[in-house]
């Protein structure tokens, strides 16, 4: 690199220093590598984010259908549907118990404002939006208590909004 201004007859052209070109190459390789890693994890290994599940009317969703009786449904074969209703400032139900080894499909909606649902120590992390059903699935092999907390600000007592998933050892229910 030179300290002198280039003047005279030189025509305009895209100019990049050699190191600069190498850095551009490194940047592109890095970003492509990140994208491929994430795509493989998401679409081949199944670490998925929530998608477009279904829509509901937040004014009537608690009156009929599955959200009128929130809680666990045993689908057999160790698989469960969990319907959870969110409102200022509680989840219904407050507590869910499943045996170790269960696979649980979480279906969650809100009857008032937006909420969040984060099941601690898992990849279950969802925005709960009135008018929409959020869905994610997880399998629980390790017994223990997994708190689910509201992680979207929903009003003055937001910090009090949480519940617990209890995974019980020994295959009992």
């Amino acid at each position: 690199m030179s300290d002198q201004q280039v003047l005279g007859e030189e025509q305009p052209s895209f100019h990049a220093d050699d190191y600069e070109k190498k850095w551009i190459g490194v940047s592109i390789v890095l970003l492509v590598a990140f994208a491929v890693t994430v795509a493989v994890a998401g679409f081949a290994l199944g670490f998925q984010v929530p998608g477009d599940e279904s829509r509901v009317d937040p004014r009537t969703v608690a009156d009929s259908g599955p959200f009128s009786q929130p809680g666990l449904r045993d689908l057999g074969g160790g698989e469960y549907d969990a319907y959870i209703l969110s409102q200022q400032y509680l989840f219904t139900p407050r507590e869910i118990r499943v045996p170790a080894g269960s696979t649980v499909n979480f279906y969650i909606t809100s009857i008032d404002v937006q909420h969040g649902f984060k099941l601690q120590d898992t990849n279950i992390n969802m925005q709960i939006v009135p008018g929409q059903v959020s869905k994610l699935t997880a399998t629980f092999d390790d017994p223990g208590e997994y708190p689910y907390i509201c992680h979207e600000y929903c009003g003055i007592a937001h910090a009090a909004m949480f519940g617990s998933l209890i995974v019980e050892a020994g295959g009992g229910s």
């Binding site: 998401g42 599940e53 939006v129």
Partner: protein, 556 residues
Amino acid sequence: MTTLKPQPTYEMTGQEKRFIGLHLVVAIFALAVGSLFGPLQAFEWSGLDLYQYLEPIGLDDYYKGLTAHGVLNALVWTTFFITGFLTLTTIVGLRRPLRYPKLNQVGFWMMVVGLVMAAVPILAGWASVLYTFYPPLEASWAFYLGLTLVVVGSWIEGYGFFFTYIAWRKENQDVRTPFIAFGGLITMAMWQIATLGIAVEILTMLLPYSLGLTSGTDPELGRTFFWFTGHPLVYFWLLPAYISWYGMLPKQAGGKLFSDSLARLAFWLFLLLSIPVGFHHQFVDPGIPSGWKAIHAALTYGVAFPSMLTLFTVVASLEYAASRRGGKGLFGWIRALPWNDPSVSAQLLAGILFMFGGIGGITNASYDVNLVVHNTAWIPGHFHLTVATAVTLSFMGISYWLVPHLTGKPLWKPKWALVQTWLWFVGMVIFSNAMHVLGLLGAPRRTELGTAPYVPDEWNGHLLRVSIGGAILLVSVIMYVVTMVRTAAQKERVAVGEEVQIPIAESLRDPQLTPLWLDTWRPWIIGTVLLIVLAYGPQLYDQITNASFSSPGFGP
């Protein structure tokens, strides 16, 4: 071809200096008030609830404070500083006055009216909806209308820059747009397109239902409109800092801009890629197919690319400056930079923390990895490295030469200012690191954790570090505000001939040798619109045609 002739710098008139100065007065006032709330939140997390003592003055509520902190610091401090700073880069860069100064004054005062209109309901407790104001959490109509006026006012100031550029271009057909003006114009162009999302959200949903004209909103559609604006918003904050890092800091450090071509390319890529990435804020949302989320994830990696170009060019410019000052060695040159200049040290420290902000940003953009950190304390940990350090500490650094330049008065206690920049750095390292760790442990963001029943013991040490970092940042921001006020209020003036100059870096290579396609608007604007239509069009069409305004409002 035209060769670069040394041109006299543009001397701003007293009126122009006052106009820019007014922007800074509002900006620094907002920062001063908003920053008092931040530590209150940080202290609350470790069990020290000061809000109970502030009840007599009406500040009884954690979330009122959090709303004020977000709005005043992230929206008001930034927007007013940026419109003021870009007024300077436009007229000083183009070496001509604003084409229609009255137009810009109208824009500025509209922003001031909007600020007051939004501030009243916030402080009265009628708008504790935080700075994302997701429906159907409902605020007073005055809050939404006030924010609208701030945005529209910034548009009008932007139109003023565009008219000024058009007038300049007529007189300067074959000349490359001077870099600092070029960067400001792109920032404003991006802002005009990006804010359409929030404008549509407020005008079609939030204002009508808060005025009682409609019975509800479609909250998911509202989120999509919000994040159409919400992500480019961060580039609206960041690009003015980049203008300084590329176009001014090298001069302050005693060097030159390393590559004019790459700097311009980076700005065009920010215009192109800042906007069609909003779904990465909605990775955990229902109602948006995961395929669209993945496309926006890929585009978000794309917008990381111009920041990586920036990293190279800025570091190379600084290394060049350091080598001219006698700096040597692979890393040894860093010590040769003028660290004792508070304006330089602020921006260098801002840049160092921004590298970590960028790495965290890549994590956030990573589709499924995001599940670990979404809506956790990691996120405010991240954006306190970006907007609250890369941007805010850089703006503080800029004001260390800008306020003396505007007022004709010397910087009050430069050593004090130097300490201020380091305190910000140290406070933010402690605060932000603790926030990132808390996020990985599952702590939610924007939550009054001092009262939360589910906080496990293992969070406590980190919550305390959040408070310690917050306390250091509070000291730093007070030092900053005092320095600014004392600088402007003092009687002493700098001697004639000793005035603080606006630092404008030359580039190593004559900008006239930068190819014309890097100084041509049409293809980049067309590309930007096209990419937005491709990345947002189908999903937005689907959400609009299936919209159901069935979600009534609720108070916080």
